[in-house]
Each structure stands twice: as C-alpha cells, then as structure tokens.
C-alpha cells in the first residue's frame, strides 16, 4: 500500500469551488422552496440587502434570509478560491503569484468601496 500523493493546489481549489457552489445553491434552493411555498411571487418587491437582518431572517425561516445568504455564498466563493490560492502560492514560495492573488483581492475590495461610495 503506497502513501497517497499530496493533493495538488489545483485539485484543492477545485474542491473548494465545488463545496462553495453546492452549499450556496442548497441555501438558495431552501429559500426558493420557502418563497414559492409561501405563495409570494418573485415579482413582488423584495427586501433590500441588510446584513443586520440576516440572522433574524434565517432564525424565523424567512425565504429572503436563505436567499441572501446563498447569494453571498455564491459571490464569495471565487474570492475564497483566490485567497486559498494565495496561501498555496505562499507555501510554495511563488512570490509573483502571491502578489497577483493579493492584487486581485485588492481590486475586489476597490469594487466594494466604489460601489458603496456610489450608492
């Protein structure tokens, strides 16, 4: 019996993407079932995103809580993949790729800042 080879960075990141997407879609599916089951139409006015209300919406099984959490999960998964790659590149001493990964995260942060400033 041979020892299993260490998982490649690509393979680890692939698994992270799979888990992130499936868990997020699962949350969105729960929210969708609750939404359709409640008789509400998707064309009704939906509550705006409010991080402060997320926990209470989830606790009271409001569809919007699951929908927002799932949507946030979908949107965060690619950034989590970049962060994981940054750690992997740092461990293998690839400084240029660490810089690239860090800069991508900075660009995403700039998107958050400019979006917030303009809203």
């Amino acid at each position: 019996m041979t020892a299993s080879a260490p998982r490649s960075l690509e393979s680890s990141i692939g698994r992270l993407l799979t888990i992130g997407i499936y868990v997020s879609v699962g949350l969105i599916a729960i929210g969708t079932v609750l939404l359709i089951g409640s008789g509400r139409s998707p064309l009704d006015a939906a509550p705006a995103f409010d991080p402060a209300r997320l926990a209470s919406d989830l606790g009271s099984l409001q569809p919007v809580g699951f929908l927002w959490l799932g949507i946030l999960g979908v949107m965060a998964t690619p950034a989590a993949r970049v962060a994981a790659a940054l750690v992997g590149f740092a461990r293998s001493g690839e400084r240029q790729m660490v810089l690239v990964a860090a800069t991508i995260l900075i660009v995403i942060a700039i998107g958050v800042v400019t979006g917030t400033a303009a809203s």
């Binding site: 690509e10 969105i28 949507i71 979908v74 949107m75 998964t77 993949r81 790729m97 998107g111």
Partner: protein
C-alpha cells in the same frame, strides 16, 4: 406561485440550452428575465451575473481537478478582467438602459452569426480539422498526476514569467494583448451580465497561443472572479433582486447539470439552427427595446 415555477422552468431551459451549446447562460438569462418576465435590464443583468458564477464555478472545479485549466495564467488575467468588471459595474449604472439593450442586441446577433457558422459546417458534414492543441489538452487530462506535480511546485532553474504561465506543450505569448482583451471582457461582462468567455476564449486561443480546451477551461475559471466583482457592485447598488434570483439560479443550476449529462444523446446540428432562430428573434426584440418601440 405560478410565476415562481415559470421562472424555475425558464431557468432550467436556459441551463439546458446553455450547457448543450457551450454558452455560459448570461446570453439567455437576461432576455428571459427582461422579455418574458418584464424585468428592468439592469436587474436582469444583476441576477444573470450570480447565475453565471454558479454555472462557471461548477464546471471550473472539474477542469481544475483534471488539470485542464491553467490556474496561474487564469489568475494573472483575472487581475485585468476584475479591473474591467469594476469599471463596467460603475459605468452600467450611468448608461441609458436603451443603450444597454442595443449593446445586448449586438451581442446576441454576434453569437447567432458565430453559431450559424458552426451549424453550417455541421450540416455540410465538413470534417472538423483536428486541432493539434487538443492533443495537448488530452495529454494533460491523461496524465493528471504528472501535470499536477509539475504545476504544484516552483519550476527549478532560470525561468521567465512567461515560462511559469505556460503549460505542457504550449508557450504563452502576447501577454500585453491578453491583458487588454481581459479588461474588455470584464467590461462586457459587467455591462451585459455575461461571463465574457466570448471575448476571453478567442483572446487566449488565437492571440496568446493557448490550446482551445485549456482556453475554455481557464475562461470558465476566470468567469467566477469577473462576474463576482461586478455582482458585488450590483448588490451594493440594489441591482440584485433575491426573489427573482432564487428560482432562476436553482433552475439554471439544475438545467446545466441535466444538459451536461444528456449532451451526448442530443443532435446538436438541429438544435443549433433552432437556437440561431431564437437568438435572432431575441436580438430583434432587444433592438426594438433599444429603439423605444418594444
């Protein structure tokens, strides 16, 4: 309830078609939500971006685990697509919606013409020339352990940045042009709610010398960051409706899964002609909206 189920079924249909025809889905989701459900174009783009992250993320994970996607090249180009996405996301809220509709109509017409070319080639039963690059991709797929081992450690000896970005059997070239193309892809993605693969794949394959299958896989990987960067801007500015997003995302995810499992049983030649007709009709409707007569 009927609208929710209709949106779910519509999502499944776009997911199946997108998967069978190799489209990310944005090209179909935006017209579905605007023309069939009467949504504002920007709202449709916001929802479409989240759908595109889901479909591309699911396929990118497979490509990564099979070592077909080039992680390092993808991440370098993501830097530029993300920058384009931030710019496009900001500009999208400044542009007149009719202009956006006009741009979308042009995109649909372009995709229809491209697909018509493929459909004609199929109909004439023209043998598709072997892409020598495919051998490279097959070699990569056939030897995942070796490829992974090579990619997972720094290359020894004096190597250039280009060498590090290249893969087994190919050398990346024209990095600057690739960067410019990637910025453009990011802007298109943020403005129109598509993944931008329609720009990235030709740029990587034709300009940068990356094999077609590696280009497609790497583009899928990049779409996640491109679309999520724009989606964040849309989320903050109230451009994503969770009630519309829910059934659409679930439908697209189910449809894309179904499509990928049935692709080998479907006659794609007929499907392409049918789809070209749908795209041209949708482009016509979008153009009418752009001209204020739709």
């Amino acid at each position: 309830m009927e609208v929710g189920l209709a949106m779910l079924v519509g999502g499944v249909a776009t997911g199946v078609f997108g998967s069978l025809l190799g489209l990310g889905g944005g090209v179909l989701i935006v017209p579905l939500l605007t023309l069939a459900f009467g949504l504002d174009l920007r709202e449709a783009v916001g929802v479409s971006l989240v759908c595109v992250i889901v479909t591309s993320g699911a396929s990118a994970s497979v490509y990564l685990q099979r070592n077909v996607a080039n992680l390092r090249l993808g991440m370098l180009l993501e830097l530029f697509t993300a920058t384009g996405a931030v710019v496009g996301g900001a500009v999208a809220f400044l542009l007149d919606e009719r202009l956006l509709a006009g741009l979308f109509a042009a995109l649909l017409a372009y995709v229809a013409v491209t697909m018509l070319g493929r459909a004609r080639a199929d109909r004439a039963d023209m043998p598709v020339p072997d892409d020598p690059d495919d051998d490279v991709a097959e070699a990569i797929e056939a030897e995942p352990a070796e490829a992974g081992a090579t990619l997972d450690r720094p290359i020894a000896g004096p190597t250039t940045a280009t060498d590090r970005l290249s893969g087994p059997g190919y050398t990346v070239r024209n990095l600057r042009l690739g960067a410019v193309g990637s910025v453009f892809a990011g802007i298109v993605s943020a403005l129109l709610g598509v993944g931008g693969g329609i720009v990235k794949v030709p740029v990587m394959h034709l300009v940068m010398g990356v094999p077609l299958r590696v280009s497609t896989a790497t583009s899928n990987l990049m779409i996640g960051i491109t679309a999520s960067t724009s989606a964040i801007v849309y989320l903050i500015r109230g451009g994503i409706d969770p009630y519309v997003a829910g059934p659409t995302i679930v439908g697209v995810f189910l449809g894309a899964t179904l499509g990928s499992r049935t692709a080998h049983r479907v006659d794609l030649r007929l499907l392409r002609f049918l789809f070209v007709a749908v795209l041209l009709y949708t482009a016509f409707e979008m153009a009418r909206r752009a001209l204020g007569i739709g």
